[in-house]
C-alpha cells in the first residue's frame, strides 16, 4: 500500500534514515520497532510529509507522493497520530471531531455564512459519523468534555479518533500505548485489530514489546536509520542482529 524506495534523510551531517526500502501491505498491521533514536518517528514524518527526504521516493497505492504536502497526503487516505498525545486540548471532544471532519464532507464558505439548510444537513451528517467513531472508541459519553481535562488514556483515544475522522486507508500510530495501563493497552489492541478488520491498514511505532508481538502481523526493525530485520514477530525476536541492537538486554535473557 505504501512503499519507500531508497529513502534517505540527512539532518546536516547526521544520517537519520539510510536507504530505507519499506513496504506496507494492504490489510496488515505492521510494527516499526527499534531502539530509541533510531529514526522511527523520522520515518513517520517522512511518510506523512512533515519533513522532506534528502533523496528517495515514497509511493502510496502506486502513486508517487514524495512531493505532496502533508495535508494533501491526508486527503489521499494517509493519516497519523503523534507521540505524546496530540489533539486539540482546548476543545471538547465533539469540537475536535468537527475540526477533524474537514475533508468529509466538503463544506463551502458561503454555506456556512448564510447557515443554509445544506450546511445544517452537513453538520448533522458530521455529528452522526463522528458519533459512530466516538462510540467505537468508547468516547461518546464524554463528547462535551474538554480534552485537556481528560485522563491520559482517553486523550490517546481522542488522538486516534481525530485521525479516524479523516477516513484513512493507512493509519500510522506513533507510540499509541505509551503511558497506558495494562487494561487500557488490551483495549487499545482490540481497537487496532477491529480497525484492521474494517479495512484500515495500520503501521505502528511501539516500545511495548509484548503488545507488539501480540498484535502485529509483521515487524520491521530499524537501527541507525537502516532496516536490520523484517519478518514475523517470532522470526524477528530470534534474529541476533535485533538482539544485539537492543544492547544486550535480550542477550542476558538468552
Amino acid at each position: 500500500m505504501i512503499e519507500t524506495r531508497e529513502l534517505t534523510k540527512y539532518f546536516g551531517g547526521l544520517c537519520a534514515i539510510n536507504n530505507l526500502n519499506l513496504k506496507v501491505n494492504p490489510g496488515e498491521i505492521l510494527g516499526l520497532i527499534g531502539p530509541n533514536g533510531t529514526g522511527k518517528t523520522t520515518a513517520f514524518n517522512l511518510l506523512t510529509g512533515f519533513i522532506r527526504p534528502t533523496s528517495g521516493r515514497i509511493l502510496f497505492e502506486g502513486r508517487d507522493i514524495t512531493d505532496k504536502s502533508a495535508h494533501a497526503r491526508v486527503k489521499l487516505g494517509l493519516a497519523r497520530t503523534f507521540q505524546l498525545v496530540r489533539s486539540f486540548p482546548d476543545f471538547t471532544i465533539k469540537r475536535n471531531m468537527v475540526a477533524a471532519s474537514f475533508l468529509h464532507p466538503k463544506i463551502g464558505f458561503w454555506e456556512a455564512i448564510f447557515y443554509t439548510p445544506q450546511y445544517r444537513r452537513k453538520e448533522k451528517q458530521i455529528a452522526e459519523e463522528t458519533g459512530t467513531i466516538l462510540q467505537f472508541l468508547g468516547l461518546d459519553s464524554l463528547e462535551n468534555e474538554i480534552v485537556r481535562n481528560l485522563p491520559h488514556g482517553y486523550q490517546i483515544m481522542v488522538g486516534i479518533a481525530i485521525a479516524l475522522a479523516t477516513k484513512p486507508k493507512l493509519l500510522l500510530l506513533d507510540e499509541p500505548l505509551a503511558g497506558l495501563s495494562p487494561a487500557e493497552v488490551s483495549r487499545a489492541l482490540e481497537i487496532i485489530r477491529e480497525l484492521r478488520r474494517r479495512g484500515t491498514t495500520i503501521m505502528l511505532i511501539e516500545h511495548n514489546m509484548a503488545a507488539v508481538m501480540n498484535v502485529c502481523d509483521r515487524l520491521v526493525v530499524l537501527n541507525f536509520g537502516t532496516e536490520i530485520a523484517n519478518g514475523s514477530p517470532d522470526d524477528v525476536s530470534h534474529n541476533k542482529d535485533v538482539i544485539q541492537a537492543y544492547l544486550g538486554v535480550r542477550k542476558n535473557a538468552a
Partner: protein, 326 residues
C-alpha cells in the same frame, strides 16, 4: 440558530440602535459612538486574524489602505458609498492576500515583527504617493455618504446622527458575518490551527492557505473600518495609520479576551469609552490602556470578558464556605 440564546443579542442590538437617539444632542458623544464602532470592527478583525495564532501588529496599514481607497473612489471616480465601502475592504484584502503567503510562513513572534514593519512601509508609501494621497498633509473634503432615499425619506447621511446609524448598520452586519464565520466549521478550523498547527495539518487542513484566509478576512473588515473612518472624518492623514494605534487595537483585543467573540468587542468599547468619559485623563490615556493590559495579563488572562465568571466563582465559593459554617 436557536432563538433563546440569541434573544439576548437581539436586545443588545436594539439597545445599540437606540443609543444614537439618546445622544442626539451631543455632537461630541455621537463622535465617540462612531469611533467606538470603528474600534469594535477593527478589534474584531484583528481577532479573526489572531484566531489562527498570528498576532498582527500592523492592522492600521490595512485600515489606511481601505480608507484611502474608499475616499479616492468617491472623490475621483464618483462611486457611491455602497460600492466604495466593500471595494475598500477588497483592496485591503487584496494586499493581505499578496503579502499573506510569504508572511504566514513565519512563526508568531517573527510574524508580529514583519507586520509591524509592514505597517511602517504602508504609512511611508501613503505619505509618498502624493498624487493619490496628498502626501503628509493628506486629503480633505472627502465626500461623506450624501443623501440617500430610505423608505421614501431623503436622509442626508453626512450629518452625524444619520451617519452614526449608517456606521452602526455596517458594523452590525460585519459583526454578524464575522460571528457566523467564527461559529461555523471555518471558525473551528481557524481555532484548531491556532492551537496546534501540526495536528491541524495531520487531519488534512491546508494550514498555510487557512492562515492566509483568516488574515484576508480580518484585513477585509479592517479596510471596511477604514472606509467608515474616512467618510466620517472627511479628512485623512497618512500618519494616523501607524504602529501605535495598531498596538492600541491589540490591547483592546487582549484586554477584552481574545478567545471569545465578544471579548474583543467588549475590550474595544470599554477602552474607547473610558478615556472619553473622564476627559481630564486624556493625557493619561496610554497609561489607562497599559493598566488594563497589565491587569488582564497578570490576573485575568482570559480577558475582561471572564470577569463575570470570576466574580461568579468567587461568590460560589463564598456561599459554600458560609453554608459549611452554618
Amino acid at each position: 440558530m436557536r432563538l433563546g440564546r440569541n434573544f439576548g443579542w437581539l436586545i443588545v442590538i436594539v439597545v445599540a440602535f437606540l443609543i444614537p437617539l439618546l445622544l442626539h444632542d451631543s455632537q461630541y458623544f455621537l463622535s465617540v459612538f462612531v469611533m467606538c464602532l470603528i474600534n469594535v470592527l477593527l478589534t474584531s478583525s484583528l481577532r479573526s486574524t489572531a484566531s489562527t495564532g498570528q498576532v498582527s501588529l500592523g492592522i492600521m496599514a490595512f485600515m489606511g489602505i481601505g480608507a484611502f481607497t474608499s475616499a479616492l473612489l468617491m472623490m475621483k471616480l464618483s462611486f457611491p458609498i455602497w460600492a466604495a465601502l466593500p471595494l475598500a475592504g477588497l483592496a485591503a484584502m487584496a494586499v493581505a492576500a499578496v503579502i499573506g503567503f510569504p508572511f504566514v510562513r513565519v512563526t508568531g513572534l517573527y510574524f508580529a515583527m514583519v507586520t509591524l514593519f509592514f505597517c511602517e512601509v504602508i504609512r511611508l508609501i501613503l505619505t509618498q504617493w502624493r498624487t493619490m494621497t496628498g502626501g503628509s498633509t493628506g486629503i480633505v473634503n472627502i465626500p461623506s455618504v450624501g443623501t440617500i432615499s430610505v423608505l421614501g425619506l431623503n436622509i442626508n447621511f453626512s450629518h452625524i446622527l444619520p451617519y452614526s446609524y449608517f456606521a452602526l448598520f455596517v458594523t452590525v452586519v460585519s459583526l454578524l458575518i464575522l460571528y457566523r464565520i467564527d461559529r461555523s466549521h471555518l471558525g473551528t478550523h481557524f481555532a484548531s490551527i491556532g492551537q496546534d498547527e501540526s495536528v491541524a495539518e495531520s487531519i488534512g487542513i491546508n494550514v498555510i492557505w487557512f492562515k492566509v484566509f483568516s488574515f484576508c478576512i480580518g484585513c477585509f473588515f479592517a479596510g471596511v473600518a477604514g472606509s467608515l473612518y474616512a467618510h466620517f472624518l472627511t479628512v485623512l492623514y497618512p500618519d494616523v495609520f501607524s504602529i501605535f494605534p495598531s498596538i492600541y487595537i491589540l490591547i483592546y483585543m487582549v484586554a477584552g479576551g481574545r478567545k471569545s467573540f465578544i471579548g474583543p468587542i467588549l475590550g474595544a468599547i470599554i477602552l474607547t469609552v473610558i478615556p472619553e468619559l473622564f476627559l481630564s485623563l486624556k493625557t493619561y490615556q496610554p497609561f489607562i490602556y497599559v493598566a488594563f493590559l497589565y491587569i488582564v495579563l497578570y490576573s485575568m488572562p482570559g480577558g475582561l470578558v471572564t470577569l463575570p465568571g470570576i466574580i461568579g466563582a468567587r461568590f460560589a465559593t463564598m456561599r459554600q464556605a458560609r453554608l459549611r459554617n452554618d
